[in-house]
């Protein structure tokens, strides 16, 4: 029989978790039903044990509440100095996270996990401090009461009637490596309370006495016990999975909770979490954004965001969907994620309204197939009375005015028409008016128009005229039908135009995103990309934008791109670094440093963070609306990917350059050592021959030897000069000392210098008269000409002429050096300007730097140098030098007579 094999996916997950654990610190939670059960005491005792085993234990924060037994335990342990915070005139002492991170004890004690930090701390909550400590590899012992657990918060509040605002996300408890239940039977606890062994602040005594009733204590204890038992269950399951214990496997469940709408969202989230934990299921919180969303108040919108955030804290994955058919969107998404259970709130709409407009729950149930639908207690506030809902002002006051005017116009038209047309046709005129209003100005004005139309129709066209009284009862039916039809039409028309509007907004966003992507593709370089992206984000979100980019040491710095008016608050200097290091967003609207007025988003590429995006809006609520935030994240993603791409390209480039440099260095070493040694060998050899006195040399031989010493020394000098020039060019140390020069003068000195080496070549130098003066470094340009002339002499047959000429062309002076040598082989015209490149390495007495130096010098002057092989034979080296637009002026001489005479 085949042995039971462990589920490979599950094993992989466990291995990954274990790998993460090796760098993460371990968390042990001392978990209790209420205050006073002795959690702190138990924690301190455990800490002492660790210390005896040689572990570096330290107290990060412990509340002894002045109890002698606890204090005695505290005294034996080193404690971190608390941070002093001045807030509102009073001094507060609080845990110092940075000190802990720099001190790095092996184990840190952090009492009261649910504690809220002093204002101005990095994190608002202590559990976030703990999370950061764990990430830094520090083990942590902490304490928490059952009433502080986020998902149990409601239940505890229901039992005890006291709601605590300080909560800890369930994930912290779930990810804890160890949870130790500190249990005390309720009777014992009450006894301790009576003995005054439980600390109670004076002002809260009454409330707390109410809290510490036996019934409450039993219920809380049960909750704590059950919670711990659930964990044990999970551990058991992990064990069974690892060891392939035969048994039933719960199918992988996925729960989806739709948190649409308002105040009951959090209830649904908590319920979903409870169910997910019970089933060990993944769970997803979904918010469906409909076109109605546009009409919601800011408060209502932010409720939706808050609910999603709550779900995220409780360990859910959160998703925002867009579409008008809520049920269809939900089902489609659920199918794509293999969701097995959907949780929705119970609708509080009236039956007839459901019949008229449909019900999400009905549609869901009908379309769910094999997905289970759970309907939980309701969405309060959804059931507004119909008329109130219709009359609720959803549009600007002005639009109601327009609506009234249209009804007036319809009435005027009907008055004209009434002698010739029947009443049925007049009704049509009014209905047409309502349709126009609905499509132009929305639901509110059209509803008003519906009512006004009925009233006007009654007043003007139903006998008795000019009165709302009705003589014939059957008209009441006419009114009723007219009103219902008008309202229905107005609703449908308004709905359609809203959909169009929503589509338009979506369209605009897609276009904005597309525009940015398109521009990002065309840009190169991290700096440029950052500037482009921040400009687009600024344009779309109307906010101040800043980008922080990391340097080699992974410290982020503000990228000064285009001026987008982002004033960096020095107090916030550390946020960007924190966001970059932790790959989490921070600042306004988040859990970290929420006191900041800017929002910091990490720019995450596929290989980690590539930067930080900071935005600050004068209307932060608008920016934090879920759809905006979602869009901002999409922009940030696009930006991050582009930045990462650019960074990778730069790194590849750098690696390439480094390789090239390495190759070059080897070439230099071999080339230089060879080229320097050859002349040295001659010098040493010849001079030693001259020094030898045993066999005297003839005067002729002596002369010969001395000449070769002199020649080789000259060659050595030129080589060194080239090498030095090259080194200075490469190091960027070549400073141009620009002065006004006449080109023929510079060429003249160059010719004079190389004359001895050009001996056999007739050189003609001809320059047009009145060449503009050049603003150049004369010595360097002379060097260029010297190198070109020497090259020409070296490569052309003896006694062949060399020509130097110049001409003015398109704002530059083109200088040419022509020889009658063999020319440059096709395809080599560029390479000969490369460093250490030689056409015939064995024949030449140089290092292949001459032309490279020329190119360096000419390019430093903003010119260009190239070679053309001349038809027949010879090469034509040309270089350009820019003519300064402002030529210097020379005062003309007062006495021109003499010159005229010449």
């Amino acid at each position: 029989m085949e042995p039971q094999r462990p589920d490979p996916d599950a094993l992989l997950r466990r291995v990954q978790a274990e790998e993460a654990d090796q760098v993460r610190g371990k968390l042990k939670v001392f978990f209790g039903a209420t205050a006073g059960v002795g959690k702190t005491y138990a924690m301190l005792q455990a800490a002492h044990e660790q210390r005896r085993d040689g572990i570096d234990v330290m107290i990060g924060w412990v509340e002894t509440h002045g109890r002698a037994e606890t204090e005695a335990l505290v005294h034996g342990l080193p404690a971190l100095t608390p941070r002093e915070v001045v807030y509102g005139g009073s001094r507060l002492r609080d845990f110092d996270l940075d000190a802990a991170l720099s001190r790095r004890p092996q184990l840190l004690l952090m009492d009261e996990l649910a504690h809220t930090n002093a204002p101005g701390s990095r994190h608002p909550k202590r559990w976030q401090d703990v999370r950061e400590l764990l990430q830094a590899g520090i083990h942590v012992y902490t304490t928490v009461n059952v009433q502080h657990i986020e998902s149990l918060n409601d239940a505890v509040a229901q039992i005890t009637g006291i709601r605590v605002s300080e909560t800890v996300p369930d994930s912290i408890l779930e990810q804890a490596d160890d949870v130790e239940l500190v249990d005390l039977p309720p009777d014992d606890l009450l006894q301790r309370l009576k003995d005054g062994k439980v600390y109670m602040p004076e002002q809260a005594q009454h409330a707390l006495k109410h809290f510490f009733r036996k019934g409450n204590l039993i219920a809380l204890r049960e909750m704590a016990l059950r919670r711990t038992a659930e964990r044990v269950d999970q551990q058991m399951e992990v064990y069974r999975r690892d060891h392939a214990v035969v048994g039933t496997w719960p199918a992988a469940e996925t729960i989806l909770v739709c948190v649409n709408l308002k105040s009951r969202g959090p209830m649904l989230v908590r319920a979903a979490r409870k169910m997910a934990t019970g089933l060990h299921a993944r769970w997803i919180a979904v918010y469906v954004q409909t076109s109605k969303h546009l009409r919601l108040t800011e408060h209502e919108r932010s409720q939706g965001v808050d609910t999603l955030r709550l779900a995220e804290r409780m360990g859910a994955e959160t998703v925002t969907l867009t579409g008008d058919d809520v049920s269809a969107q939900l089902l489609a998404y659920a199918r794509s994620r293999n969701v097995t259970k959907i949780i929705v709130g119970k609708p509080l709409r009236s039956r007839w309204k459901e019949w008229l407009f449909g019900s999400v729950v009905d549609d869901l149930v009908r379309g769910s197939g094999d997905i289970d639908i759970y309907v939980m207690t309701g969405e309060a506030g959804a059931g507004k009375p119909l008329v109130k809902g219709l009359l609720q002002r959803t549009s600007e006051r002005r639009n109601y005015g327009y609506a009234s005017a249209v009804v007036g116009a319809c009435t005027a038209l009907s008055v004209v028409m009434s002698p010739y047309f029947g009443q049925a046709n007049l009704i049509m005129v009014y209905l047409f008016g309502v349709v126009v209003i609905a499509t132009r100005w929305g639901r509110g004005p059209s509803a008003l128009a519906s009512l006004m139309s009925v009233a006007a129709f009654d007043f003007f066209f139903i006998p008795p005229y000019y009165s709302f009284a009705v003589s014939d009862v059957q008209y009441l039916l006419t009114f009723a039908v007219m009103l219902v039809v008008a309202l229905l039409i107005s609703r449908l028309a308004a709905h359609k135009s809203q959909q169009a509007e929503a589509a338009l907004i979506r369209e605009k966003r897609t276009a904005a995103l597309y525009a940015m992507s398109r521009e990002l593709i065309t840009q190169r370089g991290v700096d440029k990309l950052a500037s482009v992206a921040s400009r687009h984000i600024h344009d779309v979100f109307h906010c101040q934008v800043a980008v922080f980019l990391p340097d080699r040491e992974r410290r982020v710095h503000l990228h000064r791109g285009e001026a987008l008016h982002f004033e960096l608050d020095p107090k916030e200097a550390g946020i960007s670094q924190w966001v970059f290091d932790h790959k989490e967003s921070a600042g306004h609207g988040t859990n970290t440093l929420s006191g900041s007025d800017s929002l910091y988003l990490p720019l995450l590429g596929s290989h980690g963070a590539v930067g930080v995006l900071a935005v600050r809006s004068s209307r932060p609520a608008e920016l934090l609306a879920p759809e905006q935030l979602h869009l901002l994240e999409t922009f940030a993603n696009q930006m991050a990917l582009a930045l990462e791409r650019a960074r990778l390209a730069e790194e590849t480039q750098e690696a390439h350059v480094q390789m090239e440099t390495e190759r070059m260095r080897n070439a230099v070493l071999s080339s230089v050592s060879h080229d320097l040694r050859t002349p040295l060998a001659t010098i040493v050899g010849a001079s030693s021959a001259l020094l030898t006195t045993t066999r005297p040399l003839s005067t002729e031989s002596q002369q010969e030897l001395v000449r070769s010493i002199s020649d080789e020394a000259g060659r050595l000098d030129r080589l060194l000069k080239n090498l030095l020039d090259m080194t200075r060019l490469e190091a960027g140390a070549m400073q141009l000392r620009k002065e006004w020069h006449a080109l023929e003068e510079v060429a003249g000195t160059a010719l004079a210098r190389v004359r001895s080496r050009l001996a056999t070549h007739p050189v003609s130098a001809s320059f047009p008269e009145h060449l503009p003066l050049l603003h150049v470094d004369g010595v360097l340009i002379e060097q260029v000409l010297i190198n070109l002339l020497e090259n020409a002499a070296k490569y052309s047959p003896p006694a062949s002429p060399i020509d130097v000429t110049a001409s003015v062309k398109d704002g530059v002076i083109v200088t040419e050096v022509l020889d009658r040598g063999p020319g440059i082989p096709p395809g080599e015209e560029r390479r000969i300007f490369e460093k250490f490149y030689q056409l015939h390495p064995d024949r030449e007495g140089g290092v292949g730097l001459g032309l490279t130096i020329c190119r360096g010098i000419i390019e430093a002057h903003g010119g260009r140098i190239w070679v053309e092989s001349r038809a027949g034979s010879g090469s034509r080296f040309r270089f350009t030098l820019p003519i300064e637009e402002k030529q210097p002026t020379v005062e003309p001489e007062a006495n021109e007579r003499d010159r005229a005479a010449t």
């Binding site: 002199s710 020394a713 000098d717 000069k721 000392r737 002065e739 006004w740 020069h741 006449a742 023929e744 003068e745 510079v746 060429a747 003249g748 000195t749 010719l751 004079a752 050189v763 130098a765 001809s766 320059f767 008269e769 003066l773 004369g778 010595v779 002379e782 130097v804 210097p888 020379v890 001489e893 006495n895 021109e896 003499d898 010159r899 005479a901 010449t902």
Partner: protein, 235 residues
């Protein structure tokens, strides 16, 4: 080629490099020069006042003080010719040396011929009184300048110069064989107000060359000392 003087010319060499000193110690005496050696600026200044040499060869890179400081101190009491021995690419220092009163320079590495030519030119100039006492007619190859009549001839044909061109030429004639810096030319020809207008010299030098040089691009008389100044070639 022995020097024109009958007695030995005394040369003070201020140079810290032993090999250069050895090279000159062996090469100069056969040409009729007696060499005194100093290895530092301080030593050089002391010997200069004690021995009162005919000419000083001064290295600019000295261990104890800047070569330019040495020139400055010597010029405080003496006009004896000073030839600077400079390394390449020191145009800036060269100009400074000239402005402080150095007479000429040779660039290391240099050949003995070149050095001797410079020394001869410097000594000749030093032995001649300055200013108007210069011979009325000076001849340099095919070029002759009659200072008395204010006439210039090339190969016997008179050349007409503008007043500034003439002044430029005569300034160079006055220092014939020596380098005259741009600053000095500007000061002497155009006056101290135009000392920064470097391009003036270039423009007028071009005009002057066009009139008196056979091939202005490869001048025989008016030699450019790139980055430093001009020199009227005497041989």
């Amino acid at each position: 080629m022995p020097s024109a003087t009958t007695h030995d010319v005394t040369v003070l060499l201020i140079e810290d490099e032993a090999e250069i000193r050895r090279f000159l110690r062996t090469t100069l005496p056969p040409y009729g020069y007696r060499l005194y050696e100093a290895t530092s600026g301080g030593d050089g200044l002391a010997q200069a006042s004690a021995r009162n040499p005919d000419i000083i060869l001064l290295d600019l890179g000295l261990p104890d003080m800047n070569g330019t400081t040495v020139i400055e101190k010597i010029r405080a009491w003496s006009t004896l010719p000073i030839i600077v021995l400079s390394a390449r690419d020191q145009e800036q220092v060269k100009v400074q040396a000239f402005d402080l009163g150095a007479d000429d320079y040779v660039t290391k590495p240099f050949g003995v011929e070149e050095l001797l030519a410079r020394m001869r030119a410097a000594l000749r100039h030093a032995n001649r009184p300055m200013g108007d006492a210069v011979e009325p007619v000076c001849t340099f190859g095919d070029l002759s300048v009659d200072l008395g009549r204010r006439q210039v001839f090339v190969s016997g044909t008179e050349v007409h110069l503008t007043p500034i061109e003439y002044k430029l030429l005569t300034t160079l004639v006055r220092y014939a064989g020596k380098v005259v810096t741009h600053r000095q030319l500007l000061k002497d020809v155009w006056g101290p107000l135009h000392i920064e207008e470097g391009h003036y010299v270039r423009v007028y030098m071009r005009q002057l060359r066009n009139k008196i040089e056979a091939d202005p691009a490869q001048p025989r008389h008016l030699v450019t000392e790139l980055g430093v100044g001009y020199r009227l070639r005497t041989e």
